[in-house]
Subunit: 389 residues, 2 copies
C-alpha cells in the first residue's frame, strides 16, 4: 500500500493529461507531520533534469511539506523555460497546500528534450491537492493511485511496506529502462512515521541505497532524473534505533529494487552476478557491473547459452585486482570454469528458469558484492526502438 | 587482394576442420624477405588468449617469418594445455617452413573456453604450407583465400591495398562481434614490401591503430584475442618517408575498420559519432565512446528515432570537461539541440539511410574525435544469443 502505509502522510495519483494514453500521470505525497524531516539522493549523471536542479535547491534546507511527481515527460534539456515550469509547479503546490514553494520537491520522468505543458501540471496539482487535503488521501488506495501515476514503461506499480516496533515504512518506485542508478535511482518515494531527524534520515538513506538501488544495473544507462526521497512524519511518536531503522529501510529498498529488476523492459531473465574473493568491495562491484554491461553476455543469457567466455572477456576489461588465470565461474551452481580452465561441461547448465545466478570468485581477498541485471532481448530492443513514438 | 598485394609475401587459406561448416578455417602468411621486420599491437583486455601470450613472447625479438591464424576457436581460458596447443602449432609451422618457432606468430578466433584440436591445426599447417611454399602462394587468390579463412561471423572478407611510390601495402581483417578494440583489434594482418625496420613499423602501426581500429566500438565488448600485425619484406627495395608511409598505412587501416563496421553483426545502421569542441582528444574519444555504448541510444537508431535525449543522458556519465547546459547535438545535419535546449524539430531528421552522422559540440576546446559504431538490433540479439550453438 505504498506511501500511505505510514501514519502522517496523504497521497494521490490523478490524470492531468501528460500521457497520451489517458492514464494516471501526476502524483502528490504530503507530509502531515508533526515532523517534516527529509533526505534525498540524486542521480550522479552530470546532465541533470530541471526537477533535479530544483529539488537539490529545496534540500539545502531539509524541510519538505510535499513531493509531486509527473510521468509523461522528463523536463530535461528544456532550458530556462523548463526550469520555470518546475518552479511554477512547486509554486502551484505551495498555494494549493498553503506552504512554502521552497518546501516542495518535484520529480519528472519520461522523454528528454520536450517541454512539459504547465497548464496540465496545474490541473494535476489542483486535482491531487483535492484528494491530499481530504481524508481519502490517507487511504491505502491513495498510495496505490500515486504508485500508478508515476509509471512510464513499467508494467506494474512497485510498492513495499515494512513494520518495525511501533512504526512503519512505506515506499513506491518507478523505473523499467535507463536503469543503472549512480548514487540514487529512478523515482522512489519512501515515507515513515518514525521520529527521526533529517540528518538521521540522510545517514540511513545513503547506507540503504548504496547496497540496493546502486547495485541494480539493468541496461547500463543512467538516468538524468533519478531521485530517491525519504520523508518522516514522526506521527507514530516512536524513535527507533538508527541501526535498526537502517536495516529495515535497506530491506525495503532491496525489495523495491528487485521489483524494478523483475519488471525491466523486455527482460526474460533476472540475473544476479555475485563476485566473491575480491580485494575490496569496490573491486567486487566493478567486476560485477562490468559483466552486467556486456551485451554479448546478456544476449547469451537470453538465448539460454552458458557462454562463460563472455563473462571472462568482460572481467578482463575491469580494473579490479585479480589474476586472469585464477578465476572461477559458475552458472546456476555449475562450475564451468575453475582456475581459468574449463571445468564442468556447459551442457550441465540449465538457463531456462527466469532467475539466473552467476558466481565469480577472484581469489584476491574476502570482499563480495552482487549486481542485479537483466538479459538483452528482442523485446528490449523493440521497446526501446519505439519509445518516443 | 589482401596480404599478397605486396611483393615478398606468400599466403594460403585452407580447410583444417575446426569449423563445423567445412569452410576455410586456417590461414598462413609468410614473409619471403629479404627483410623480416615486424610490429604488432595486442588487445588490452587483461584476460588474454593463449595465442596472444605466445605472440607477445615472439615479439620480444621483432623478427617474424610467418603468421598463422585459425578461426573455429579462440584458445582462450584453456589453461596450460591450450598454451601447449599454440606452442605446438608454431613448432609445426617452423618445421614445415624450416624456420625457428620463435619467429612464428599465432592468432586464434572463435568461442572462448574450448580446447582446439591440435591434429586439425597440424593438418592446417601442412596444407597451407604446401601452398605458401609454392608459386601459387604469392597469387592474388592466395591472399583472398587467407582473408576467407579467418572469418567467423563475418559475412564478407575484409581486404585492402594501397600503393605508394614504388611500394605496396596490403591487409586483411576479421571481426564482426566483440568489436571494441583497445590498443589493437580483432585479427588483422598487414604486409608491405617497403624497406622499413621493425622500430619504424612499430611507430607507424601504433600511430595508425590509435586513430582507426581504436576508434571502432561496435558493441562495447573487447576481445581476448585482438591482434594487428604489420610485416615488411623490403622486396620493393624502396625506403619510403616514415610520415608518408604512416599516412598511407592509416588510410588502409581506416578502410579495414570501416569494412568491419559495415559488416558488424546484425547492424542496420553505421553510426559515426563526432565530438567537436573538446578540451582534449581523450575527452572527445571518451564522450563519443560513452554514447556509442548506450544501448538506449543504439536501439533508438535501430528504430529510426532521433532520440537526442539519450545522447545527452550518456554524455552526462562521461568524465570529459563540458557544461551540461551548453552542448549542441545534431542528427544527420539537423540541429535538434542547441545550447542544451530543443532547437529544430526531431521530425526533420531522416534516419532511414544506413549511414548516420551524430555531431556533439562541447564548446570546451578545439579537439575532436570520431567513434564508429552500430545500432542495437533484433538481429544482433539473435546472432549473439545463438553463437555457441
Amino acid at each position: 500500500m505504498s506511501v500511505t502505509a505510514a501514519a502522517g502522510f496523504s497521497a494521490a495519483g490523478v490524470v492531468c493529461g501528460l500521457k497520451s494514453t489517458g492514464k494516471k500521470d501526476f502524483a502528490m505525497v504530503r507530509n502531515l507531520g508533526p515532523l517534516k524531516s527529509v533526505a534525498a539522493v540524486f542521480t550522479s549523471n552530470r546532465c541533470k533534469a530541471n526537477p533535479i536542479l530544483w529539488s537539490q535547491q529545496v534540500m539545502a534546507d531539509p524541510v519538505v511539506e510535499a513531493i509531486v511527481l509527473n510521468s509523461g515527460g522528463a523536463n530535461c534539456y528544456t532550458g530556462a523555460r523548463g526550469f520555470q515550469t518546475t518552479h511554477a509547479t512547486a509554486e502551484a503546490v505551495a498555494e494549493r497546500l498553503g506552504v512554502s514553494a521552497g518546501d516542495v520537491l518535484v520529480c519528472s520522468t519520461g522523454l528528454i528534450g520536450e517541454q512539459l505543458d504547465l497548464d496540465k501540471l496545474k490541473t494535476g496539482v489542483w486535482d491531487s491537492g483535492l484528494e491530499v487535503l481530504s481524508d481519502a488521501g490517507t487511504s491505502e488506495q491513495a498510495g496505490i493511485d500515486a504508485a500508478h501515476a508515476i509509471m512510464t514503461t513499467d508494467s506494474v506499480p512497485k510498492m513495499s511496506t515494512s513494520t518495525g516496533a511501533g512504526y512503519t515504512i512505506g515506499g513506491m518506485a518507478k523505473g523499467a529502462g535507463m536503469l543503472a542508478p549512480g548514487l540514487a535511482t529512478m523515482l522512489v518515494v519512501i515515507t515513515t512515521d518514525a521520529v527521526l531527524t533529517s540528518e538521521q534520515l540522510d545517514t540511513a538513506l545513503r547506507a540503504a541505497t548504496r547496497v540496493t538501488f546502486d547495485r541494480l544495473d539493468s541496461d547500463g544507462c543512467m538516468s538524468t532524473n533519478d531521485q530517491v526521497t525519504l520523508m518522516a512524519s514522526g506521527a507514530s511518536g516512536v524513535e527507533p534505533e538508527l541501526a535498526e531503522f537502517t536495516a529495515r529501510l535497506t530491506e525495503l529498498c532491496r525489495d523495491l529494487a528487485i521489483q524494478l529488476q523483475k519488471d525491466a523492459e523486455g527482460a526474460s531473465h533476472n540475473i544476479h552476478i555475485t563476485v566473491t574473493g575480491a580485494a575490496s568491495e569496490d573491486d567486487a562491484v566493478d567486476v560485477a557491473r562490468t559483466v552486467s554491461r556486456s551485451n554479448l553476455f546478456k544476449a547469451a543469457i537470453f538465448g539460454n547459452d552458458p557462454n562463460w567466455g563472455r563473462v571472462l572477456a568482460a572481467v578482463g576489461t575491469s580494473s579490479a585486482v585479480f589474476d586472469p588465470y585464477n578465476i572461477d565461474v559458475s552458472f546456476n551452481g555449475v562450475a564451468v570454469c575453475t582456475a581459468g580452465e574449463p571445468d564442468q561441461s556447459r551442457e550441465l547448465v540449465d538457463l531456462t528458469p527466469r532467475e539466473v545466478d552467476i558466481q565469480i570468485e577472484l581469489h584476491s581477498g574476502t570482499e563480495t558484492a552482487t549486481i542485479w541485471t537483466n538479459d538483452l532481448t528482442h523485446d528490449y530492443v523493440h521497446e526501446n526502438s519505439a519509445y518516443a513514438s
